[in-house]
């Protein structure tokens, strides 16, 4: 008789024992897959929140006075090629969406009514494409040449259809088409104007210069700022990196906390389930000692008996791993809907986890049955078969 047929028949005969073992695999699979899927979803959520918050890393020359920097008091400029060099670097991956910016306070802008104002001018270099990283959708700060985006407070002073005019460093008046009037509450840009970098450099007579690079830090294991700083300074030792704290931090901390819990809960649940499985296999062997004794008397080898026990664990581990994966995914999807704002609808089955599940759970459950299987090979056939 085919040993697999024998295993399957025994498995169905001792339904309760088999079902409890199967349940332990399903529980371990569900918990592991659900926590892992939620952790991945949380990572994506953090990314999306960070993106929503805008660029959160500033790169600027070392020695820049941060009080001046944050109050936009025209800090030290540096060549815009720095952006391209960073984007060309193979080792620079802790930062995405590199955007070179020239940001200056312009103290004497006259509005169409003749009133004078202090405003902030932003010149945006087109977002740099990082050659050695997968292409990504840009953050959308690009401004076309000859055009400007007006902050809410500036836009209030200019009629619809009129151009934006500003006096250049050479004293000539320059005019730009307004393509966008930004909504209120966008921060410093409310009192500013966004240019194409080349246009602003011409207006200010600062060709080829920028005074900061803004970027989006990665969701990295070692933390955004540390990674980004190390990588930037490995290329340009004269640059410094700073970070704007945001809601993303809270989310990131939540994610890290979830990972920490996961790192405890997953092994704890798996180990507990393995222990229960080991005991259930031990009980199964005890009940079957006469069957095993008989098989020995019929000339079944030690490896054949080991195979019968371990193959049963493999079958249950495989079935439980598959079911556990799908139930884990459903659990993650259900709770993900409650927890996440951006990624709730993006929680898809992680197929690489599925492959791990169908490999890992059968292996672990085979391991759990190993000691009971060894005990089965040691059963004294003469003793068990002669018992009345």
């Amino acid at each position: 008789m085919n040993p697999i047929t024998l295993i399957i028949k025994e498995l169905f005969y001792r339904k309760v024992n088999s079902l409890i073992i199967l349940l332990t695999v399903i529980i371990a699979g569900t918990v592991s897959v659900a926590i892992y899927t939620l952790s991945k979803a949380s990572e994506n959520e953090t990314r999306k929140i960070m993106r929503e918050q805008g660029l959160n890393l500033y790169i600027f020359p070392k020695g820049t006075n941060l009080i001046d920097f944050y109050s936009v008091s025209n800090t030290q400029a540096f060549p815009e090629e720095y952006v391209d060099k960073l984007a060309e670097s193979k080792t620079f991956d802790a930062v995405r969406h590199l955007t070179g910016i020239l940001q200056v306070r312009y103290s004497d802008w006259t509005d169409p009514n003749g009133s004078s104002h202090q405003i902030v001018l932003f010149g945006y270099k087109d977002e740099a494409m990082q050659r050695f990283l997968p292409a990504q959708e840009t953050m959308g700060f690009d401004v076309e040449k000859g055009k400007v985006h007006l902050g809410f407070l500036i836009a209030r002073n200019i009629r619809e259809g009129d151009p934006f005019t500003i006096k250049g460093s050479d004293g000539s008046l320059r005019s730009f088409e307004i393509t966008e009037r930004l909504e209120e509450g966008r921060g410093m840009i409310d009192q500013g104007v966004a240019f194409n970098l080349g246009d602003l450099q011409e207006v200010l007579g600062m060709q080829g210069m920028i005074n900061k690079i803004e970027a989006l830090g990665c969701v990295c294991k070692d933390g955004r700022i540390k990674n980004a700083r190390n990588q930037v300074q490995a290329i340009f030792s004269d640059l410094e990196v700073t970070e704007i704290s945001s809601i993303a931090d809270a989310r990131e901390n939540q994610r890290l906390m979830m990972n920490k819990y996961g790192a405890f809960i997953i092994p704890f649940v798996i180990l507990s389930c393995l222990l229960i499985t080991g005991l259930l296999f031990y009980q199964n062997i005890t009940v079957r000692n006469r069957e095993i004794g008989l098989l020995k008397a019929m000339g079944k080898s030690t490896s054949g008996i080991l195979f019968m026990i371990i193959a049963k664990a493999f079958i249950l581990g495989l079935i439980g791993g598959i079911i556990g994966f799908f139930t884990g995914h459903l659990v993650a999807e259900y709770f993900g809907r409650e927890i996440f704002r951006f990624t709730s609808s993006d929680i898809k089955p992680l197929w690489n986890v599925f492959y791990y599940s169908i490999l890992l759970f059968p292996l672990l459950w085979m391991l759990a049955s190993w000691i009971p299987a060894l005990m089965a090979t040691q059963i004294d056939a003469a003793k068990t078969l002669s018992q009345e």
């Binding site: 008789m1 024998l6 028949k9 169905f12 069957e291 008397a297 000339g299 003469a382 002669s386 018992q387």
Partner: protein, 214 residues
Amino acid sequence: MIELKNISKQYVKGKEVFTALKDISVRIEKGDFCCVTGPSGAGKSTLLYVIGGLIHPDSGDVMYNGRDIYRMNSRDINLYRRKHLGFMFQQFHLMPYLTVAGNIKLACNGNSQAEKIGFYLEKCLLADKKNKYPSELSVGEKQRTAFIRAIISEPEILLADEPTGNLDDSNSEILLSLVKEYNNGGGTIVLVSHNREIEKYANRSITLRQGCMQ
């Protein structure tokens, strides 16, 4: 065919030492029907399992066709049990999750033996029980199933440990007739029983008392 030379076996339980077999020497020839009798605790079953390669004696040799079975490697001793021996027990030891046919198939070495299941079921009046599970059989039917399982691989030696111990007289009669028929066909039988009535089927009889041959 099988020769036991100076076999001794003792069991130690705590401080107590129990002698199951003491310097037993016996030769069983092909075609023998050897009945081993004696009171409980005389060492009958131990002798049977020693021949079956399941109890390692403390001293002595068990020669099968000139080879000491306890000097064989594990592969050869498994092969010896699978190809040359058939076992029957007082408790039948049928797999509860296999049908009558399934239980017999368990002992088959290859398809040619499995094809004979129908023939033996007919012979042992079990043809209509082929797909029944042990729980659906009477004790006599269970033991006849165990008998077919023991002989389906056509072993040279049938080792039977109190096979009628749980049977009534008529079922014992049927079973022993079948065993005798197997013996008449050339099979060697070693049958252990405390019932001396069985000796009438045997051509040889060994009586054990406190591990010694009488």
